[in-house]
């Protein structure tokens, strides 16, 4: 009798866990759909090649599942994702001393090749402008670059501080100094 009851309880737990796993997985994939591209861009700006960026982003979402299954805090998962991606990137840089790659190598220009010279010229100017900003950003300190890229991704100062383990005032200073330097360089 005891064993039957225990088995019945175990069965219920198992079924509940399966449901829980499924809903957690669904939640992780929803976050993936929303954030993966931004995360990859952020990781790319930290100097990681595209293939490693993809791996880091996948690892980040696997860790998100672990975090959720362990009953981790869910108050700001977006900032949590960036923080984990940031830390994984740092680990990767330490481990492999990954060579920095130019983000523009991964930049794709939407649409067919321009039919008119005017369009081609605009596109070229746009590309040069982006190339100049990219080169200038890469000359900033890692903290300034990280703060500016996260800011461009739409994170608030409080979230950036959480991701980079900085105080909010330090985030503000990094953004200010980064923008001032960029203005001088461009």
């Amino acid at each position: 009798m005891e064993s039957v009851e225990t088995l019945a309880i175990s069965g219920a737990v198992w079924e509940k866990d399966l449901l829980e796993d499924t809903s957690v997985r669904q939640l992780v994939l929803e976050h993936y759909d929303r954030e993966q591209l931004s995360l990859r861009k952020y990781v790319g700006f930290l100097g990681i090649d595209p293939e490693t960026s993809r791996e880091i982003v996948q690892e980040t979402f696997l860790k998100l599942q672990e975090h959720l299954l362990a009953g981790g805090d869910q108050t700001n998962l977006r900032a949590w994702l960036y923080r984990v991606a940031h830390n994984l990137t740092r680990n990767s840089q330490v481990a492999f001393r990954s060579s920095k790659t130019d983000l523009l190598a991964d930049v794709t220009v939407a649409g067919d090749p321009p039919a008119r010279a005017e369009s081609a010229e605009r596109e070229l100017l746009e590309r040069e402008r982006l190339s100049g900003v990219n080169a200038a950003i890469r000359r900033l300190s890692a903290a300034q670059r990280g703060c500016l890229v996260l800011r461009a991704q739409g994170l608030k100062y409080r979230e950036i501080a959480e991701v980079l383990n900085l105080s909010i005032s330090t985030v503000g200073e990094n953004i200010q100094r980064g923008l001032e330097k960029l203005k001088e360089m461009l």
């Binding site: 993936y32 591209l37 362990a70």
Partner: protein, 209 residues
């Protein structure tokens, strides 16, 4: 760079980023409405910010099939994560199961019996032959229900009527010819040794009904 009579860069940037308290933001708006120099500097920071956003937005696109790869990894990882994470819910459920088993054991121990009362198994278990062991000189046929790694000193003996079907399920078969106990609806009086987890460690059949 701060200029007397003008807003500092950090204030202009925080205003652009909606990071100022409402009253300070209103004061900045008021100042900008009447200061050409600050408007020009603010527009410069705004333009630069838009350039950075464009650059960040022009990054790599998602590779085909990456989502499916992740979905497969998540599926294979989930049970492992649960084990590593030690899900509180699972722990709670196991706790309840153990508590239930313990309660049943206590009930069985305290239930009135006409025969000998429960005896503590203070002596260490002594294996005498394969499948049997002794406790204080009494032989028991080992049962596979209790965790053998738990301390044997916490085990105790309960005398109870045990259905033959239960013993059969545990691999203890009665000879149908020599006695009438083989019938599955019969029960036998037995000393049952309960482990620390409340599950049977062994059984010693005393008599048939």
């Amino acid at each position: 760079m701060n200029m007397p009579g003008h807003l500092a860069n950090d204030v202009l940037i925080r205003a652009l980023d909606d990071e100022l308290p409402p009253t300070e933001a209103a004061a900045v708006e008021l100042h900008l409405s009447c200061c050409e120099e600050c408007r020009r500097r603010s527009a410069g920071f705004r333009s630069l910010s838009i350039h950075i956003e464009s650059l960040v937005a022009s990054g790599p696109e998602c590779g085909v099939g990456e989502r499916e790869i992740l979905a497969r990894k998540l599926e294979s990882q989930a049970p492992l994560s649960r084990v590593h994470a030690g899900s509180p819910k699972l722990k709670r459920a196991l706790g309840w199961a153990l508590a239930l088993a313990a309660c049943l054991a206590v009930i069985a121990t305290l239930a009135p019996r006409p025969n000998a009362p429960a005896k503590p198994a203070s002596a260490a278990l002594a294996q005498v032959q394969s499948g049997t062991f002794e406790v204080d000189g009494e032989s028991f046929i080992s049962l596979p229900y209790s965790n053998p790694d738990l301390p044997a000193t916490a085990a105790h003996i309960v005398q109870m009527q045990v259905p033959v079907a239960s013993l059969t399920a545990a691999g203890i078969i009665f000879e149908p010819v020599s006695n009438g106990a083989a019938s599955s609806d019969r029960s036998v009086l037995a000393d049952v040794l309960l482990g620390m987890d409340g599950q049977p460690l062994g059984v010693h059949v005393l008599s048939f009904d």
